[in-house]
Symmetry: D3
Subunit: 224 residues, 6 copies
C-alpha cells in the first residue's frame, strides 16, 4: 500500500477555505454535525494561530521523515501538510529547514500525529504546527511511505484535498466536497451566536434564551 505519490489532487475554492479559517475549529466542528475533530492530544506549538488549507497528506514510517521531502514538492500555495505515522511515534520529523522549504512553496502549516523540533525557530518564522509531541529526536530516510493517499490522523480520516482547520482548540477536517455547505452553516451559526452573545453580555440567562426551564422541570430538576 505504500510507495505511492498522487500528484494531482482537487482542492476546495480558496475563499471557502479562508472562510472556514475565519470561523475556527469549534464552530466548523458544530456546523458539520460534530464530526471531523482530531484527538485532543494534538496541540499547537504556540498560541494564537488560526489557519485552514487543503491537506497534502503523508503516511510515514515511524522515525522516518523521507516522505516529507517528497510531499513538499506536491504543495500548492495555501496547502497544509498532514502527517500520520504508521505506528505511534513522538520523533521530531520536522524542523526549521523543512519549514523554510514548505513556506517557500506557500504552505500554511503542519499537522503531525508525532513530534516536531526547532519549535523556537518555527515560532519566530510564524510557521504553526499542531503535534502530539515536541521532541528533538531526529529521524532517518530509509523506508518509503506515501503522499496524498487517505490517512487516519489522530483518530480522524483525512483525504488529500480535504480542508483542514486548526486553531488553539485543536484541529478539524472537512471533506472537500462538503466544504462550501459547511461554511454556509458555520457562518449562519456565527451570526446566531453573535445575537446570543449580546443578550448574554446584558445579563440574560441561557435558561431563558434557550427556553430551558420547562424542560428541566419536566425532567425533575428540583431547586432547594
Amino acid at each position: 500500500m505504500s510507495g505511492i505519490v498522487v500528484r494531482n489532487i482537487e482542492r476546495a475554492p480558496q475563499d471557502v477555505i479562508d472562510g472556514l479559517a475565519h470561523c475556527g475549529v469549534a464552530t466548523v466542528h458544530e456546523a458539520q454535525g460534530r464530526t471531523g475533530l482530531l484527538a485532543p492530544h494534538m496541540r499547537p506549538i504556540y498560541a494564537g494561530a488560526r489557519i485552514a488549507g487543503s491537506a497534502v497528506t503523508i503516511s510515514a514510517p515511524p522515525g522516518d521523515n523521507w516522505m516529507i521531502h517528497v510531499a513538499i514538492e506536491q504543495l500548492a500555495p495555501g496547502d497544509i501538510l498532514v502527517l500520520a505515522p504508521t505506528s505511534p511515534c513522538t520523533d521530531g520529523y520536522f524542523g526549521d529547514l523543512l519549514a523554510t522549504s514548505a513556506m517557500a512553496r506557500g504552505c500554511r502549516g503542519l499537522i503531525i500525529d508525532a513530534g516536531v523540533r526547532d519549535v523556537r525557530d518555527l515560532t519566530q518564522m510564524g510557521f504553526p504546527v499542531w503535534s502530539k509531541a515536541v521532541h528533538a529526536q531526529g529521524t532517518v530516510k530509509a523506508t518509503l511511505g506515501s503522499v496524498n493517499v487517505p490517512i487516519i490522523c489522530a483518530n480522524a480520516l483525512i483525504a488529500p484535498g480535504d480542508v483542514v482547520i486548526a486553531d488553539d482548540d485543536g484541529v478539524c477536517v472537512v471533506p472537500r466536497a462538503d466544504a462550501a455547505a459547511v461554511l454556509e452553516k458555520a457562518q449562519a451559526r456565527e451570526a446566531n451566536e453573535e445575537s446570543k452573545r449580546v443578550r448574554m453580555a446584558n445579563g440574560e440567562l441561557g435558561l431563558d434564551i434557550y427556553d430551558m426551564r420547562g424542560k428541566l422541570a419536566a425532567m425533575g430538576l428540583k431547586y432547594v
Copy 2:
C-alpha cells in the same frame, strides 16, 4: 442523587477570599497543612492568572453541559464555577458564549475536570480556566446533574461556598469555615519567606538558615 439545585450557599468574606488569591496556590496549600490541592493535570489555558472565589459546584454527566446554564443563574459576583463530570471526560463543556454569560454575573473563572473550548476567545476576554483538556468537542443537553452539592473534582473534595484558589501552579480548595484561619497562616508564611528570600539573595545557604548541617551529619551524609 442528581437533579438538585441548592440556591442559597454561604460564602467566606470577600476580603478573606481576596487575601487568599494574593497568597497564591503554593502558599495556601502549605498554610493549610498541605491539603486541598487538585491533581496536577489541571492546567490553566493561559499563563499569569491568579484568582480566588467561592465555589459554585456542578456535578455533570459526561458530555452534557446542561447544568452549566443552571449554575450560572446561581452565581454571585466573585464566584468561581467548579465542574466535575460523573465519569472521566475531555469534552469541551464550556466556550465563549457561556463565559460571556458567566462574566455578566461577576464570575471570576472556571475550574473543570474535563475539557474547554474557544480558548483563544477566552484568553482575549480575560476569563481564566483551569482544565484537564482543551477540546473543541461539543456536548449535549439531555440529562440532569446537580448544582451546589459537594463534588470530588480532580481528586479533591469541594463543597459549595468553599474558597477555590487558582494560579499557574494549579488549583487549591480551602473549606469555607477554615478560610480566615488559613489566610492568617498564609500571610505569616509569606512574611517569614520574605525574610528568607532576602538572606538567600545575599548568598546565605538554606543549610545555614534552616540549621540543617548537624541533622544531615547525624543522618550520615558524607562529603567526599
Copy 3:
C-alpha cells in the same frame, strides 16, 4: 548508595559550554550521533529560554527535597541543577526561594524529572526550569539522597560535570570529555544547514539538494 556529596567535580571550558547553548538542543543532539536526549515529557515552564551549563546532579527520594539545599552549596557560576527522583514523582521539589538561592550562586536553571512550583515567580525571575510536571505539592526533608553522583534522569545518564543543554525542544546531555568535539561538529552542522536554508528559501527542494530522486525511484516510489 545514598548519602554522598562529591565536592569537587570537573567542568568543561566555559566557552565550549556557551557554544553548545548557542547551537541548541536539536543541533547538539544530531552532532553527537543522536544520543543524549532526555525523554520528551521534560517541558520548559516558559517558552524561549536556551541555556547550557555543567550538571550538578541530585539523586533524591520521592517527595523529599532536602538534597537540593545540599546541592546549592556545590554550585559554581554557570552550573545547572539536575534532579532525578529515585522513583516516579510529580511533587513540587523547587520554588522561588530555592531559585533565589541558586541564582545567588550563579545557577542557570533546573532540570527535574519531577515537579516544580511557584512557576509564575520563576518566570518573572527569569529562572528557567524543565520538568515533568508543575505541581504545588510540597515536599519533606527526612531522608538522605546524594549530590554529584551519576544519575539516570528522564531516561538519560548524566554524570556530574556533564554539559546539559536545554531549550524549547527539550534537554540534551553531552559527556564532559566529549564537549569540545561535539561543539565542533555542531558548529559545522550549523554552517552546513545555513547554506541549505538559503537554497530552500529560494525554492530549491530537498529532493534535489540531497539528491534523493534516484534512490527513491530505486526503492520503488511511484508517482501517479
Copy 4:
C-alpha cells in the same frame, strides 16, 4: 492534619457487607445512583476476586509506608485497608510481609491508589489488591500520616467504616449509613436483571423488553 489515629470506628453489619460483596461492583454502583466508583486506573493484581469489607483508611506521604503498620493494629476481621497517598505515587508500599500481618488480623484485601509489590506471593496467598501500579520500589518510614480519617482515594471520598466493594470491574464505596438501603436496592436490581437475562437469552431484544422503539422513532432514528 496528619499524625492522627482514630481507634474506634463504626462498621456496617457483617451480613449487609457480605450481601454487597455478592452483588458486585457494577450492581452496587447502579443501586446507589451511579455514585461511589473509584477511578478506572484501580486494577486488581489477579482476576476473579470479589470482596467487600469495612474501610480502615490510611493517608500516607508519598513513598512512606509507616502508617500501614499503624493501621494493621486497627483492623478487625472483615476489614479492608484503603490507602491514599498525599500526592501521586507508584511506589510499592505493600508486600507479602504486610499481607501476612493483615491476614492474621482477618483483613480481606487492600485498595491502594499507589503501587504494590510481591504480587506473585500475594496471588498465592489469596490476598487481593486493587492498585494503580505494580512496582517493586521500596518505601521509607520517616514521616507521619493518619489512620481512620476521611480520605480521597482515586477520586472517591472514603470515610473509615464505609463499605468498600471490589471485583474485576474495579472498586466502589458505599457510605456506612447507606449500606443496608443500598443492599436492598442492589438485590432488587439483581432480581429484576435475572428475569431480563432469561428473556434475552431466549432471543428477545432490549428494544422490546424496555419498550424503546417508540421513543427512538420520536427522536428521529431512521432505518435505511
Copy 5:
C-alpha cells in the same frame, strides 16, 4: 450525520472469515501490508481468545449506550459488535445482560474504544471483549447515534461488514472486499513461517536464513 441505522450490510464469506481468525492478528496485519491495526490501547478482558467476524458498527455518544440495543437487532450469526464513541470515553457501555442478548443472536465478541463492565461474568460466559478500559461506570439512553455506518475506532477506519480479527495481540480490520485476497496471502505467509520456524528451532540463525550478513557489512556493521 447521526440517527441512521443501515439494515442490510454485505458480509465476507464465512470460510474466509474463519480462515482469517485462524491466522491471527499479527499474520493478517502483515499479509495486508501492515495496515488495519487498531491502536495498542485496545486490550482483551481475558487472555486466549482469537476471533474474527463481520463488523456491525456503532457510533455512540459518550456515556450513552442506547445504540447498542439498536445494533443487536442487526446482528447475524458470526458478527462482531464494534463501537466507537464520538468523543473519548471510558464508561462501561456493555455488560453481561447485553452480552446475553448478543450471544443469543450469534455474536462472537465486542470491540469497543471505551469501557466495559461485568468482566467476570463475560469471562465465565466466554464472550470476549477488546476495550480501552474496564469501568463499572453506567451509561444513559438519551441521545441518538448510528448503526452500520463507517466509523473510526481506535485510529482505524471500519466499515460495516469489514472483517475484524482480534486476539491477544490486539485487533485488526480487513476491508470486506479484500478479505479473500488477504487470507490467501496470510496463509502463504504462515506456510513460509512454518519452514523458518523449523530451521530456527534447529539453531539456524535469521542472519543466515534471510541472508543478512552481506547487507549488514555493507551498511557498516562492525564486530569488535
Copy 6:
C-alpha cells in the same frame, strides 16, 4: 555511536545468577540499596515467570528490529535479551519466530522497552517477555543499531553481562561485578524476612517487631 557488535562479554557465575532469580525482584532491589529497578511500565506478558540471566543488550532504532537477529547470534545459554529503542516506540519488534531462534540458543527471556507480538504463542512456548506494550505492529530492517553496548532501558542503565532479574513485580538490573555481593545480601534479607513472616502470621504486629511505638510517639502520633 551505532553499528557496533561486541562479541565477547563477561558474565556473572551461573549459580549467582540463579540465586538472584530465586530471590526475586523486590528482594534483590532492596538488597542493593533500592537501585537498579526499571520503570513500572515494564509488565510481563503472562503471570508467574521469574527469571534471571546475563544481559545481551540491543540499542535499536524505532520500528526496526534488524539488530535482534544480530544479537541472537551473541547469545549464550542462560542469557536474556534486553532491548532499548533509541526513541520511544511501541512497535512489536519480537514474535514467535525470533523466540524460537532465541530459545534454540538457550535464551531465558526478553526485556524490551517497546512492543512485542504473538503473545499467545510466546505464552504457550513458555518464553517470558517484559515489555512496554503488546502491539502487532511490524518493524523494518533498514537501519543499524548496536549489540552489547551499555544502554538506558526504561530509565535504568544496563551494561552487557549485567544480571537482569524479572518477575511479576517488574525488572531489576544488578551490575555484573556486584552480583555475588548482592546475592549474599538478598539471601540474608530473605532469611530475616522468613522469621518475621512467622511472627506476623502468629499475630505479632510490625509496630512491635520493629519497635516503632516509641519513635511514632516521639514524632507526635496521636491515638484518639
